[in-house]
């Protein structure tokens, strides 16, 4: 049975998920950060009043889940004001933080402002590796913050980005999480955008490392049972089908960058040929429903083969446009993670390179820490 060719897109629903990247400023310098590597060239951050207008307009359209991220959102001194306004409007508010800057007075103020949820990131289970990977001395501080978060009645939700340099510590990471009383742990394998894309050669784990980490996670799950829920996000380079990135661009997710540029995904700023509108110049309604940038990848009209006639196109939407662009130079190509993509070899070759030990030695190519100097050099 042949599938019908790409059909016209149905009308877009509301942007249920709103992510505010309040700032790209961050006290950490993580090598796997997905922020743009030229973040230093991004324009002036939105003022408080501008963020509040974004919240009002998005809420009126039906946005209901709110992520507050960055950079480190606590760098913004108006975070409490933004949370309070969001709470009044009926958003469910999620703070995504490194914990740096989360002092007790600020946590108390955020709680009073109505903050619903906190996700805390760690880089590793050891002080040495945590501090190395973030190029800071923050390990002890994060442990203190974790205790504070629990003290204030929030569930302890940990996020640890995994890669070649820390994936062998999964068991220790989970034990650390257990000692901290974590209820949820997300072990998120690195996705290769931004700084992580630059450092891909050093960050890609080997298949053996990945298997060991999955086994360790399964053993741990068995031991702790329902007390701690663990999400293991498999790195998509090791898959044969792409992730349904953002559930399709422009379907439910709206991200606002620090300078007010509206994006259908935090990484989408890199996509060529599209002019992403600014909330300084247009309403959220017109941006979401009418702008060419948001309509471009809606539906299936943009798809090429093999996606265009693929029976799975309604499930994975052809994968990730940014990954297709980074790897093949054309964002309308199938995500090369898909084994049906003619470019799939680009992914398997990267995985195969990671099998050789070590892939790229620090002497050949040093890890690039996210910082201002690195940021001045555009990709």
């Amino acid at each position: 049975m042949s599938e019908p060719a790409a059909t016209p897109s149905p009308p877009a629903g509301p942007p249920l998920w709103l992510l505010l990247e309040l700032t790209y400023r961050c006290p950490l310098h993580c090598v796997f950060c997905y922020n743009p590597t030229d973040f230093e060239n991004v324009g002036r951050e939105l003022e408080t009043a501008e963020w509040l207008r974004v919240l009002e307009e998005a809420r009126a359209l039906g946005s209901v889940q709110l992520g507050l991220s960055g950079g480190e959102p606590l760098v913004r001194e108006d975070l409490e004001t933004i949370v309070a306004a969001a709470h009044r409007l009926g958003f469910y508010t999620n703070l995504i933080t490194s914990g740096v800057g989360l002092t007790e007075p600020r946590l108390q103020a955020l709680k009073e402002a109505g903050l619903d949820h906190i996700q805390l990131s760690f880089q590793d289970s050891t002080r040495r590796m945590n501090d190395f990977l973030s190029s800071t001395r923050t390990f002890e501080l994060k442990l203190k913050v974790a205790a504070l978060i629990k003290e204030y009645g929030y569930p302890m939700v940990l996020n640890v980005v995994l890669h070649r340099l820390n994936i062998d510590h999964v068991e220790d990471i989970l034990e650390m999480a257990e000692r901290m009383g974590a209820e949820y742990v997300e072990l998120a394998n690195t996705q290769y955008y931004g700084w992580a894309w630059r450092n891909r050669g050093q960050l890609m784990p080997s298949r053996a490392q990945l298997n060991r980490a999955e086994e360790a996670t399964a053993r741990f799950r068995e031991r702790v049972g329902a007390r701690m829920r663990i999400f293991f996000v498999v790195p998509d380079y090791f898959e044969t089908r792409p992730k349904p990135c953002m559930n399709g661009l422009g379907r439910i997710f709206l991200s606002i960058a620090p300078d007010g540029i509206a994006l259908p995904c935090q990484a989408a700023r890199m996509l060529p040929g599209l002019t992403f509108p600014s909330v300084r110049e247009a309403s959220i309604r017109s941006i979401w429903y009418d702008s060419p940038a948001f309509n471009h990848y809606r539906g299936e009209g943009w798809m090429k083969e093999p996606c265009r006639s693929c029976p799975e196109r309604g499930r994975d939407f052809g994968g990730c446009r940014c990954q297709a662009y980074l790897l093949t130079g054309d964002p309308a190509n199938a995500d090369p993670v898909c084994e049906l993509s003619p470019h799939h070899h680009l992914v398997t070759e990267a995985v195969m390179r990671a099998e050789r030990e070590p892939t790229v030695t620090p002497a050949e190519q040093p890890l690039i820490f996210r910082d201002h100097r690195g940021s001045s050099a555009r990709e």
Binding site: P14, L16, V64, G67, Y92, N94, D116, Q119
Partner: protein, 93 residues
């Protein structure tokens, strides 16, 4: 954790969850960390009555009155059991 559901129990929306009406979706939704469940009308009819004050027996009676129906008890029980399993609902002492 085993939870004994009986008619005298007083269900309340679980910690970290929030129930609200969303005009844009024309539905009640249950919000939780980084997620959302859109509720059917019958699920909403039950959850909006889980206020920690009323017992399951009260809730059944109230719904049967509101919908001019009888024999809804087992449906309400089944849904509350599922809701407890998913932490949408908990019991106040």
């Amino acid at each position: 954790m085993m939870v004994v559901v009986n008619t005298a129990a007083r269900p309340a929306i679980g910690d970290g969850f929030r129930l609200q009406w969303e005009p844009a979706q024309e539905a009640h939704v249950l919000l939780y960390p980084e997620g959302m469940v859109r509720l059917s009308r019958s699920a909403a009819a039950i959850l909006t009555r889980c206020d920690g004050e009323h017992t399951i027996a009260d809730i059944v009676a109230d719904i049967e009155r509101a919908y001019a129906a009888t024999g809804l008890s087992s449906d309400v029980f089944a849904f509350i059991e599922l809701a407890v399993e998913r932490s949408w609902v908990e019991f106040r002492a």
